[in-house]
């Protein structure tokens, strides 16, 4: 597979795909041969052609970030085939909501303490678990749910 016209070894993508790594290979800068698993994961989840198309649509200076985000999402999907990286988003969003509630309650407590010199109230109880009627308990920010999905959610009652 190697060529005498250039000295660099084939990138991880071309090695994986068992093809000649051309000088203008779009994968070469972002999938070095020392990281074979990175491309393997991305290829398994997204496919080389999809990744190639995505990279072509992104400016050159942002391609490394795009590849790294794809690699992250691919690895997350491999570890959690059901939720992938969306699981992390759901958990973080819940944490934001909880923190915001606690902050609001504590601010109110502080205000009461500062101006009324009343003893501070106890911190608010943790939020209740998701209601039984909810599909999965997953919180999707920037929800792009289809209306049909909402009907499926209410009836399926999936779990997290």
């Amino acid at each position: 597979m190697s060529s005498s016209s250039y000295s660099s070894s084939p990138c991880a993508a071309c090695k994986f795909l068992r093809r000649k790594c051309m000088p203008d290979c779009i994968f070469a800068p972002y999938f070095p041969p020392e990281e074979p698993q990175k491309f393997a994961n991305v290829h398994k989840i997204f496919g080389a052609s999809n990744v190639s198309k995505l990279l072509n649509e992104v400016p050159t200076f942002q391609r490394e970030d795009a590849v790294n985000s794809l690699a992250y999402e691919a690895e997350a999907r491999l570890k959690d085939p059901v939720y992938g990286c969306v699981g992390a988003i759901s958990v973080l969003q819940r944490q934001v909501i909880t923190l915001q509630r606690e902050l609001d309650a504590t601010n109110a407590n502080l205000f009461r303490y500062a101006y009324n010199e009343m003893p501070p109230l106890r911190p608010p109880p943790p939020p209740p678990p998701p209601a039984a009627g909810q599909s999965s308990g997953f919180y999707y920010p920037y929800q792009w749910n289809d209306p049909s999905d909402e009907d499926n959610e209410r009836s399926s009652g999936g779990n997290m």
Partner: protein, 297 residues
């Protein structure tokens, strides 16, 4: 293409592929015919064969949730072609850090008030005059260091998904993390690494040199995270986060988008987005610098 019976139309997936939509079509329940854009996003990112592969590897009871996450991920990637879901995660992480810092600050003020409340009666007993204005005390307290009160840090362990916890990956990436010294994430945290080192496009890949493993690790108990101010050397590669919050995309505005998959929950999303837009630009760059990728085998 419709079925011979003519009672149901082909799903968006089969329509796109110009094939007959059979009753056993795996994708038909999740890509109705009127949501071609959603399917196109999913097809663009994953491809039909990869989606089917994922579904076939799962129990049928998990298909709905898996498809939901796949569609969400694809739609986010359509909105944010460069960072995708990772950008959303960073955004949330930054938001959490801001909230925690503010929370610690308020807690420390509250603690000061509590102490003051206890001290004043004893001072009165000794014949000492209390301060005349509680507001002055509040002002003085606000000048105290924020790092005083950390009782919150471990008190609210939400049941975080620990799907990504991998002690091997974590150990390998300890060298690159600025905030993994106080490691609380073994059991209850996802792993998204706080210091963003590896994705400095043109600057360096020093973290990758040390750790060829590729992962994103995190401490969701972000009280252990260092303030973002130390990442001043963030290069302009992360300018994308500024338009990320202003335009919410590389090339288009999220807020003004009228994509068919915008839901009725857009208002809540807008609130989150607008709240984040208030963050100064340099802080966004610093926030971006605080996330890093280290490679994993």
């Amino acid at each position: 293409m419709t079925l011979k019976s003519g009672t149901t139309s082909a799903c968006a997936a089969c329509k796109y592929q110009r094939r007959k939509c059979i009753p056993e079509c795996l994708l038909a329940p999740y890509f109705p015919a009127d949501q071609t854009k959603v399917f196109q996003n999913a097809h663009k990112l994953f491809g039909v064969s990869n989606i089917v592969k994922i579904l076939k590897s799962l129990d049928p009871s998990q298909h709905a949730e898996a498809m939901r996450s796949i569609k969400y991920q694809a739609n986010v990637r359509d909105k944010f072609p460069v960072y995708g879901c990772l950008g959303v995660i960073r955004q949330l992480y930054y938001q959490i850090q801001l909230l925690e810092e503010e929370f610690h600050s308020v807690l420390s003020q509250l603690e000061m008030y509590r102490q003051y409340h206890h001290e004043v009666p004893s001072q009165l007993e000794l014949g000492m005059a209390p301060p005349t204005n509680g507001l002055n005390f509040l002002t003085a307290v606000s000048d105290m260091p924020v790092s005083m009160q950390h009782s919150y840090s471990n008190s609210n362990n939400i049941g975080y998904c620990s799907s990504y916890v991998d002690s091997k990956d974590h150990n390998n990436n300890n060298n690159n993390s600025n905030s993994n010294s106080n490691n609380n994430n073994n059991n209850n945290s996802l792993w998204i690494q706080h210091p963003f080192l590896a994705t400095n496009n043109s600057s360096s890949s020093n973290s990758n040199e040390n750790n060829p493993l590729m992962a994103i690790q995190s401490q969701l108990l972000v009280s252990n995270m260092q303030p973002l101010v130390k990442q001043h050397e963030v290069v302009q590669d992360y300018d994308e986060l500024h338009p990320f919050f202003d335009t919410i995309d590389d090339r288009q505005s999220f807020i003004h988008s009228k994509e068919p998959y915008d839901s009725s929950c857009e208002d809540s999303a807008k609130e989150t987005t607008q709240a984040i837009e208030l963050v100064p630009n340099n802080e966004l760059k610093n926030a971006a610098a605080c996330f890093s990728l280290t490679s994993v085998h």
